[in-house]
Assembly symmetry: C2
């Protein structure tokens, strides 16, 4: 499985961010072609500059992720994401290896 | 399930970091009390300052994570982690919510 991680840092207005992310962005992510799992976490910071929200999108493999990244649905999700007032957004992708 | 995420950024010497992390740190993490799953990812950066290595440690619940955080095994893992030459380490924890 191949994972795309999107981390949102320090929203200007957390309550407004949450409301619009859940009502507008979540449906756009759910509509991505080939998406097999989608999780959200609002973690507690323990050390360093922790993200406010972590979105994780799972695909069958790197090809399925590439297809999703190039899709009109991803363009729509990206266009929406660009309207959120956050300090920064970090994105990365790759395989996740079981160690236990 | 409750997840502890540890992100390592920009190791001074990636090959040396990998070698010692896998041979020394991985066994220390596997020995943590209550750990139920442990994954590693070396993601491809797509946007912003992406981590070099992402370690994810899963526990039954917040109490199990707290117990692990206060354990001598975690003290040993933390002591080892402090010796790695990286630009920064970010840690956060919390529930992961299924959205799909």
């Amino acid at each position: 499985m191949h994972r795309l991680t999107v981390q949102y840092f320090s929203p200007a207005d957390p309550a407004a961010f949450d409301e619009r992310y859940e009502s507008v962005h979540v449906p756009l992510v759910r509509a991505l072609p080939g998406i097999e799992s989608f999780t959200l976490a609002r973690p507690r910071p323990l050390r360093g500059d922790a993200p406010y929200l972590v979105a994780e999108l799972w695909f069958e493999d790197a090809d399925a992720l590439q297809t999703a990244l190039g899709s009109p649905e991803m363009a729509a999700a990206g266009k929406d994401a660009a309207t959120y007032e956050v300090a920064s957004v970090v994105m990365f992708s790759g395989e996740v290896r079981e160690m236990l």
